[in-house]
Subunit: 325 residues, 2 copies
């Protein structure tokens, strides 16, 4: 789910050095004595993600009382919460590979994945509770409730082709945008931003998160297997109906290639026909336009802040729209 080839160094510039502290904090999480815990933790934390969520947290903090003693553990907690949910998702989906790297469940079994995910949740809670700001701990708890609800909603709606755009936005809001909103809102809260700015940053993070997930869902149809680290059309093959398939369905009365696939879900030929149909340029263009409008909403939500951070947060929206894997 991380943005790949587009350069983040310019965008992260205001907090680049401080992100190394987050990286060090993440490394220390894997430094435990028990080998059965250290192995999976080091494997999952070493993955060279872009650390987009911690970067957001620090960038927001940069606008106010920039105190790394609280921002670093909170930003690290956000990344750990994100990582824990990925570990559990991969276990739930029986995914063998994520971004080209074997998943914990594929290497150590699904039981270990469940328990390591639990450990990561707890470690995130431990870091965040140590900063002693109950409001931030509540935000973390609410976010995990939203993410698990969203994942359950997705699970429940598998192969349901009648899902609406509204239901889709609600679901990705819970499962993805809530974590982006946590990163920006928590960054604002611990840096003592005014209430209006906290709300504005929450809105920025939420809209950016929606755009991020829409792009992810587009790339699942249009990307190359080698770049995605998973087969094209993976979402549809799992029964997850995302924006491209929803928009396709709006203009193609049933039966259509997508509903035909749902009727013959074990037949690869039906899957390929459905993916090809959904991948029509007009559909993909509509999806990009919707992602773009969420990015515009994100930028419009930004409160008055110093130019360098504003520049980074606006550029981040462009980067999310442009990413190719």
């Amino acid at each position: 789910m991380e943005s790949g080839q587009v350069q983040t160094s310019t965008i992260y510039q205001p907090v680049q050095e401080d992100l190394l502290q987050v990286e060090e904090c993440l490394r220390q999480v894997g430094e435990v004595a028990q080998p059965y815990l250290a192995g999976p933790l080091k494997h999952i934390l070493a993955r060279s993600g872009k650390r987009l969520r911690p970067a957001l947290c620090l960038l927001v903090g940069k606008c106010y009382d920039y105190n790394l003693e609280v921002l670093v553990p909170v930003a690290t907690g956000v990344e750990l919460l994100h990582t824990a949910t990925l570990v559990h998702d991969d276990s739930v989906d029986n995914a063998l590979v994520r971004r080209g790297v074997p998943t914990i469940n594929s290497l150590w079994g699904s039981g270990v994945a469940v328990l390591v995910g639990d450990y990561l949740f707890a470690k995130a809670a431990s870091l965040v509770s140590a900063v002693k700001i109950p409001r931030v701990m509540s935000l973390f708890a609410q976010t995990l409730m939203a993410i698990s609800s969203g994942e359950l909603a997705q699970n429940f709606a598998a192969f349901n082709v009648s899902i609406s755009r509204h239901q889709y936005f609600e679901r990705i809001g819970q499962k993805t945008a809530s974590l982006f909103a946590l990163a920006t809102e928590a960054g604002a809260v611990v840096s003592q931003a005014p209430e209006a700015d906290i709300k504005a940053f929450r809105d920025y993070g939420y809209s950016l998160g929606l755009a991020f997930q829409i792009i992810d869902d587009i790339l699942d149809y249009t990307g190359q297997e080698t770049e995605l680290g998973k087969p094209t059309g993976n979402d549809l093959s799992q029964g997850t109906i995302t924006l491209p398939a929803i928009i396709f369905g709006e203009s193609h009365p049933q039966p259509n290639p997508v509903t035909a696939f749902v009727e013959h879900r074990d037949d690869q030929a039906y899957l390929e026909r459905a993916v090809a149909a959904v991948c029509h340029p007009a559909i993909i263009e509509k999806c990009y336009a919707i992602a773009g409008s969420f990015c515009s909403q994100a930028c419009a939500a930004l409160p008055p802040i110093p130019a360098p951070v504003r520049h980074s947060l606006v550029e981040l929206c462009h980067l999310v729209l442009k990413r190719q894997k």
Copy 2:
């Protein structure tokens, strides 16, 4: 894992009415709009456990500044954390039944069990963070780290017959006693007990928890399938080497019926021979004596407190030792 037939009403008497508030709080957790979440939540929260951990939390609070506005959410949080770990354990072990009731993974699949467990962790964290005492939130986080580490240790040591008593006590300390210690320590902290009493109650809860798990592990060998809600010898069949098998191993050089079973773990006849050998009265008696000594340690740890609560907490130790299922 709950105590069954022995009457708890006398023991719970000092907090009996207030426990109804915990019960109501647990009921409300299942009152969510989404049917895919409400179904599993109501199923798992309706289970008529003895609510031993919330009772401990309230009983400890009764000795100091007894404020139900903080004690009820914290006691409910302890029960939710306990419930979440059971849901995940059953998913990890592919257990179909717990105490005679179908597990979430057996009814809705292991993916739903993982996500519902996550939701319960988050709900526990949400309730506890709302009382705004960071120290208690830290205790919850540390406890979940201990539980998941303990479960991983057990997973890692499956079918390892050379595990020592020391390793066993450490493992059950993490996976079971830590939650009892959380219940008593958190009850003391939120009720503003003196530091020495907080430490004493933590020790009481931890020792009681060790005794509780040892009895659980004895009953797995000696109990009736109809009472346990699972087959006798279930732990050994899963490769979990518990105190009875460890004590058996100490006085029976290898090869013995337990090591023979490990070599032929798919053969029911080897399992039955191993269970019969471990079930020797002298071995079971030794295990009960060890559980009894932990109960004595628990009682010895109790700080000076009012007689009715002291009586309840001492009786609770007796109840734990006497339980039959």
